[in-house]
Point group: C2
Chain length 342, copies 2
C-alpha cells in the first residue's frame, strides 16, 4: 500500500513537472510531514542533506532564509539530469544525421570523419580528434534556420533509440533528479540547466521532460545571423562556435544571462567545478551537489579516468569542502522513470 502511494506520488510529481514549468505553486504544508518529496531517493545522508538545506533556507524564521528572487538553482545536463554514456546523446544525433544525409554526399563514403560514421566504426571515430568532432557537429548542426534545426531534433527524438538501453533518449533522464527539480520549484527555486551541450538541441525537447522553460536552459551555442528575408525574418545557424558553456564558461554565462549567483548547484564532472565554486562563494547559504556515477549495473560507473564526464578535481574538492556527493548505486532507488512502470 505504501509502495503504491509512493508510485502515485511520483507520477503526480512527474505530471506537475510536465505541465507546470516554472510553477510557483507550493506544496500543501499540512501534508508536508507525511508526503515524501523525494520518493525515489533512499533514506541516506544525501537525501537528508538536501531536505535539511531546502527546509532551512525557505524558513522565514531561519538566519539562513533566502528571498525567493535569489533562489537560483543551476543543473548540468549530461550525466547529471540524463545519462551520457557510451557517448553524449547529442553526438548520437549528429551520427544519425550524417547517416540520414549521406545520400546527398557520396564523397562521405571515403572522407573522414564521415566514413567512420557510415562504417559504424566507433574505434575510428575518436581518432579524428577534436577537428573531426567539430566537423561532424558543424555539418549536422549548421547551415539551416533555427526553426529547421528545432524541427529536425524534434523529429529525431521521436524515433531514435539509445544504442544499448534501446529506449528513447528522453527516457534516459534520472527519476530522482526529476523529483529534486520539482521539489526545488515547489519551494520557489528557479531551476536552470547550465550545460556544455548545445542550447538549441536541448530546447527542442527537454522542456516538458524537466519542467524547465527554454529561457531557463543555458548551453553552448552555434554562431547565428539574422536575415530579414523580405519580411519573413529568420535566424541562420552558421558554422562557428559562439559560446562553449563549459568549465569557466559556466559561471561566466550564469553572470551574463542570469546576473545572480546560484544558491544551489548540481553537476557530475570537472566541467562543472567552476560553477560549483561560484555557488559555494554565495553570501547566502548554498548547496553543492555532485552526482557520482557508481552504478555499473543499472547505469554506468566512471569518474577520475573517464573521457566522458571526468570527475577528478571535483571529487577532491567536494570531499575537502564537504559538498554533498550522490552515490548513485546507494542513494537512488530507481534510475529512470520507466523503472517505475515495471
Amino acid at each position: 500500500m505504501k509502495k503504491i502511494a509512493s508510485i502515485l506520488l511520483v507520477l503526480l510529481v512527474c505530471f506537475a513537472c510536465k505541465d507546470n514549468a516554472d510553477s510557483k505553486e507550493t506544496l500543501d504544508t499540512t501534508s508536508m510531514e507525511v508526503v515524501d518529496p523525494l520518493p525515489s531517493w533512499n533514506e541516506s545522508t544525501t537525501k537528508e542533506n538536501i531536505i535539511a538545506y531546502v527546509t532551512d533556507v525557505t524558513n522565514a524564521e531561519s538566519e539562513n532564509f533566502i528571498p525567493i528572487a535569489d533562489r537560483i538553482s543551476t543543473f548540468d545536463n549530461d550525466g547529471n539530469l540524463w545519462s551520457e554514456q557510451p557517448a553524449y546523446f547529442q553526438l548520437f544525433f549528429a551520427i544519425d544525421r550524417v547517416k540520414a544525409l549521406a545520400g546527398d554526399h557520396p564523397e562521405w563514403k571515403t572522407e573522414q570523419p564521415f566514413k567512420a560514421v557510415l562504417d559504424n566504426d566507433m574505434s575510428a571515430l575518436p581518432k579524428q580528434g577534436m577537428r573531426g568532432l567539430m566537423e561532424l557537429i558543424m555539418t549536422t548542426h549548421t547551415g539551416m534556420t533555427t526553426e529547421e534545426f528545432d524541427t529536425t531534433v524534434k523529429e529525431w527524438v521521436k524515433t531514435a533509440k539509445h544504442p544499448t538501453k534501446n529506449v528513447g533518449y528522453d527516457e534516459l533522464v534520472y527519476q530522482p533528479m526529476l523529483e529534486l527539480l520539482g521539489y526545488l520549484r515547489a519551494n520557489d527555486f528557479k531551476t536552470y540547466i547550465v550545460s556544455g551541450g548545445g542550447v538549441d538541441f536541448m530546447r527542442a525537447f527537454v522542456s516538458p521532460v524537466y519542467g524547465i522553460p527554454s529561457e531557463q536552459i543555458i548551453g553552448s551555442r552555434i554562431t547565428t545571423e539574422f536575415d530579414y528575408n523580405d519580411g519573413n525574418p529568420r535566424i541562420i545557424r552558421t558554422a562557428g562556435l559562439d559560446y562553449n558553456d563549459d568549465k569557466d564558461g559556466k559561471p561566466l554565462n550564469i553572470q551574463k544571462i542570469i546576473g545572480k549567483k546560484p544558491v544551489f548547484s548540481s553537476g557530475n564532472s570537472d566541467g562543472d567545478l567552476q560553477m560549483m565554486q561560484w555557488a559555494a562563494s554565495n553570501t547566502h547559504k548554498s548547496f553543492m551537489l555532485y552526482v557520482h556515477h557508481t552504478d555499473s549495473v543499472r547505469e554506468w560507473a566512471y569518474d577520475r579516468d573517464s573521457h566522458i564526464g571526468k570527475l577528478d578535481k571535483g571529487l577532491d574538492q567536494a570531499n575537502k569542502d564537504g559538498w554533498t556527493v550522490i552515490n548513485m548505486a546507494k542513494d537512488w532507488k530507481v534510475i529512470y522513470p520507466y523503472e517505475l512502470k515495471n
Copy 2:
C-alpha cells in the same frame, strides 16, 4: 474624487511593480470593468489597441489565445522605458566616474577624451568619435570585479542628478510604461528588457524600478574572466566588448537567451527595428509598439535626424505595417512618476 482614486491606483500599481517582480498574480476580474489598468494613458487609439490585444490573446475562447509560456514581451530601455536625452544615462555615469577618478590620473587633464570631460566641454566630447567613447566606457566600466562595478553604480545612482531635469536618473522612467509592464505581468506576460545599454549597469538598479528581475534584463556586455582567487572566486570585467545588443544583435540575443520569439515588442528607435520585425513574424498574434518622442515641452522631441534614438526606417515600417505608434505628447497624461505627486 476620480482623480484621487486614479492616483491611488497608480501608486498601488507602482508598489506592485516594486515588490512583485515577475508576479503571476492576476487582476481581480470582478473589478476589471471599473479599474483602468493604464490610468496615465489618455483615451486614444493607442491605449485601445493595447487593451484590445491583451484582452484578445489572453481569452481562452479566442482563436488568438496565446499559452502563458509563450507570452514573452521585450522592451528596449533607453528612450523607451526611460529618457535618453541629452545623452544616454550610462554616458553620464561614465562622465561622473572620470571626474571621481581624475585625482589618480593627472595625465587626463591633457589627454582626450578625458580632457573634454574634465573641462565640461560637451562640444569637444563628440569629436573624440567612437574610439574616444569606447575609451571612456572601458576606462570606467572595466578593470574591476562584477561586484565592485555593481556597488559603484548603486552608489552613483543614489546621488547623481540629471543635468537638466535635476532629479535622479531612476526618476526619469515613463509612468505610462510602468503601468504597461504591470498590466502585461498581471496578464501572465513575462517582461524582458532588451537594450543596447550595458546589462550590468541596468541590473545594478532598475529591477525595483521596473519590477523586472536581473535574469530578464538583456543588454550589451563587457568581456569577463573567471578567477578562482584561492577559494574566493570573482568575475573580472576586462577591456573588451563581449556583445553589442543593438539592431540585429537584439533578435539574435533573444534567441540565444530566451529561445522564444516575443509576442509583444516595444522600442523607440531604428536600433529596435529588427527586434520588432522578429516579433512581427510570430505565428501567434503579435503586437509591435513604437514610442515616438513628440513632446518637446515635457520630455524631448526627436526622430528621423536625431543622433540619439534615431527613428526613421522604424517609423516607415510602423506606418506601412500598421504597428502602434505612441504619440508621447498626445497619448500620455504624465511622463514621469514624480508628476503624480504634484
